[in-house]
């Protein structure tokens, strides 16, 4: 009901504008939604050239590719709301993926890293990866909050530390850096198995994990005082401090939560890719940050929506899949991806420039 009332007032406002203002209104909305328009055009173009782009199996593929990246993106989004960033995300994904794999290798696998370890219960492994991610996030948050270091520097450092630990971890027990594979069937079924099918196309379970993560994060961002505090700190830390928000605690919590989210992506990736090594997770933070920016989480701080982040992840994946369906040359793919990120940021910043 409220939504309809809103629409009505917006329409009334629009009616009240004179013809010149009406043109500006349209121009503005066109520009502000340009990203979505371009994507719609791209989807239509791809579908015309290759009708298979809009088949059920292709759409499910886009959804599942996006799902794996949603936890890391919504995690990193929080740090961007605080005008920060997190470069350690990819390496945390790598570390947690390797930890998940090492704890859940099949007992029959010949080159198991911990030969005498039984297959651990999955809930315990989830708790462990959440904890490992959260600890890294806690360290990030602590240094950002208490030493007023820029997150870029802090996470640049922790990223190296995590990578070092990861390298040592996969050298353990004579594993010598070999990929951690041979995952237990129960683990694979839990993550990549399915309980729902559309037609003959199964929807992998990790899509539901992503849905749970989205709902949880939406709730945290919009319905908790922690979420409100986060936006307050992001838009103006001094003002937030004066109004009684514990800035340090909020900063630490945001980073810790983000770390736990990377743990979830690591857990999913571990089973989804099936081969975990030192390079796992490399550059994941780049795509996640790009997704946030495309989705309107601004580096200016204090703005952003979970729905935007999810859209951003989808946009990036749609581009990846569409370029493949169109068989576009690899070199061009880099250029196109770069242009889209640049364009999205420019549109985003334009809003603030106009306001000034």
């Amino acid at each position: 009901m409220k939504a309809i009332a809103n629409l009505k007032t917006r329409y009334a406002n629009y009616q009240a504008l004179d013809s010149k203002d009406k043109t500006t209104y349209w121009k503005e909305s066109l520009l502000n939604n340009a990203m979505y328009l371009i994507i719609i055009v791209a989807v239509i173009y791809t579908a015309v050239h290759n009708p298979k782009f809009l088949t059920v199996s292709s759409i499910v593929n886009i959804i599942s590719l996006s799902a794996a990246n949603i936890p890391i993106a919504v995690g990193i989004a929080g740090t961007i709301v605080l005008t920060g960033t997190d470069l350690s995300a990819g390496r945390v994904v790598g570390l947690t993926a390797c930890i998940s794999a090492s704890l859940l290798q099949a007992t029959t696998y010949a080159t198991k890293i911990f030969p005498n370890l039984p297959v651990m219960p999955i809930p315990l492994v989830i708790l462990i990866v959440l904890a490992v991610g959260a600890v890294v996030g806690l360290v990030n948050g602590f240094f950002v909050a208490h030493f007023k270091l820029h997150p870029f520097i802090v996470t640049l450092a922790t990223q190296l530390i995590v990578y070092g630990i990861l390298l040592m971890y996969i050298m353990l027990n004579g594993n010598n850096g070999q990929p951690l594979s041979g995952l237990d069937q129960s683990f694979k079924d839990f993550v990549t198995g399915h309980i729902v099918k559309i037609g003959s196309v199964p929807i992998p379970n990790y899509v539901w994990f992503a849905v749970v993560v989205i709902i949880f994060m939406w709730f945290v961002w919009n319905k908790t005082s922690f979420g409100k505090n986060m936006f307050a700190v992001g838009s103006n830390p001094e003002a937030a401090n004066v109004s009684g928000v514990n800035v340090a605690k909020t900063t630490i919590l945001v980073h810790t939560l983000a770390g736990a989210m990377y743990g979830i992506t690591g857990f999913i990736e571990s089973a989804r890719i099936g081969s975990n090594q030192a390079g796992t997770g490399l550059n994941y933070e780049c795509d996640a940050i790009a997704a946030c920016v495309i989705g309107g989480v601004s580096f200016v701080g204090g703005t952003g929506k979970i729905s935007g982040v999810v859209m951003g992840v989808f946009v990036l994946r749609i581009i990846f899949v569409a370029l493949n369906f169109l068989s576009i040359n690899m070199n061009m793919q880099y250029v196109i991806k770069g242009l889209i990120i640049l364009f999205a940021c420019a549109i985003d910043m334009r809003k603030y420039l106009v306001r000034k």
Binding site: K52, F53, T55, S57, S58, V60, N61, L65, Y109, A110, T111, V139, F142, F143, H146, F147, I161, G164, I165, L167, M168, Y169, I170, M171, L172, G174, N176, G177, Q178, P179, L180, S181, G182, K188, T192, S200, P202, P204, E269, R272, I273, G274, S275, Q277, A278, G279, T280, L282, N283, F320, V321, N324, F325, L326, S327, N329, M330, N331, Q333, Y334
Partner: protein, 382 residues
């Protein structure tokens, strides 16, 4: 004030915990970047050799196995050495070499970052010349075919231990060709008389990746032609590259997996255009592709299996081959390479010429100080 003190203390405690944590987990593994190991072995003949070993990156699976093997052999010989990780950055490696020479290294063992570049390797040769110490390059090429001898011929105290980059591609191609000739009708799922393949490339602009991508298909086609079978066709007719490459250049399983799931949403048996053969530049990518096939019910060890080929013979790939989920891979002999490097190092320790007693190794026709460790095919039987 009190609060700040608390923060300070907590910070120190955390850092300490981290350092201790690292030490704990690293204790049983190998030396990390920069911690030297000295073996006061009773062999004693260790001389005053101080070796710097420079790896292009610790994250490479194959290089990690060379490192473990070489560390063991140098320790056995009681030679002082120090490992460095260039983390895929030539500048870092050059700086590490400078530093090592300053700290008294008198033998360099270099796994160069920029593969096949005369400029990069000449710089390292110049550093070694200036300090008058021998240098052993290994694994990654220091010059390409056209410039063969330019670098290795320019300094008598240098040697190269590696593989002949195109050889892996040729062997993979021959292996695929042989397999297809034998199983042509089984592989040709839609019975259109042609085999459609997917190719996953590890990195753009890397000599090894380029050779593997090219020769795996060319040589397989040659075998097919010999047996009067039609040549392979890339599954996606409109893709003129005829490969799909890891955009991060990391030869990663994740990249192959993302491509493969995307391919399978469009090319499958339902549409009668299933991909019938998968060729990968390395075993990691093969694993990623197999994970994607698994999700669709293929390559589970029984039932429908799409032949997948890789390179490296990692433990994981061997296991997959044993389980019937993968067909074959090309083995790089990490132990053999480490053995050869250790032998050359021993020569340096004994004050002999680097290439003494290396007649039993395969060498390049053109350059005498270039040793090739042969690749081998691996299809299950060792």
């Amino acid at each position: 004030m009190k609060k700040r003190l608390m923060a300070m203390l907590l910070c120190v405690a955390m850092t300490a915990a981290m350092v201790v944590g690292c030490g704990g987990s690293g204790g049983s593994s190998d030396s990390g970047d920069g911690d030297a190991k000295e073996e006061s072995s009773e062999g004693g003949a260790a001389s005053d050799l101080n070796v710097g070993v420079f790896y292009y990156t610790y994250s490479d699976t194959y290089i990690a196995s060379v490192r473990t093997a070489l560390d063991g052999k140098l320790e056995e010989k009681g030679i002082t050495y120090q490992d460095y990780d260039a983390n895929n950055n030539q500048t870092t490696q050059n700086e590490q070499i400078d530093t090592a020479i300053q700290t008294g290294a008198n033998l360099l063992i270099v796994n160069i970052v920029t593969s096949g570049s005369v400029d990069a390797s000449t710089q390292i040769i110049d550093k070694a010349k200036a300090a008058d110490i021998p240098v052993i390059f290994f694994n990654r090429a220091v010059e390409d075919d056209d410039t063969e001898g330019q670098v290795l011929g320019s300094y008598e105290k240098c040697a190269f231990v590696g593989t002949d980059a195109p050889e892996a591609g040729h062997m993979q191609g021959a292996m695929i060709g042989d397999y297809l000739v034998e199983n042509y009708d089984k592989v040709d799922l839609n019975k259109d008389g042609k085999i459609s393949y997917a190719m996953f490339m590890g990195q753009l602009g890397n000599a090894e990746a380029i050779y593997r991508t090219q020769y795996a298909v060319e040589d397989a086609n040659a075998k097919l032609k010999e047996n009067e079978k039609p040549e392979l066709v890339f599954f996606d007719e409109s893709n003129t590259d005829k490969y799909q490459v890891d955009q991060d250049g990391a030869w990663s399983a994740a990249a192959a997996n993302n491509y493969m799931t995307t391919n399978l949403s469009q090319y499958n048996e339902g549409n009668n255009n299933m991909i019938e053969l998968i060729i990968c530049n390395n075993d990691g990518m093969a694993e990623g592709a197999i994970a994607a096939l698994n999700d669709k019910g293929y390559n589970l060890g029984e039932g429908k299996t799409i032949p997948v080929f890789g390179v490296d013979a990692t433990d994981a790939a061997k296991q997959l081959i044993g389980d019937g989920k993968m067909v074959g891979t090309i083995k790089q002999d990490a132990d053999g390479m480490a053995d050869c490097i250790a032998a050359l190092t021993q020569n340096a320790a004994d004050g002999k010429g680097l290439m003494d007693g290396t007649d039993s190794y395969n060498k390049s026709d053109k350059v005498a100080n270039k040793i090739y460790i042969p690749y081998g095919t691996y299809t299950g039987e060792e």
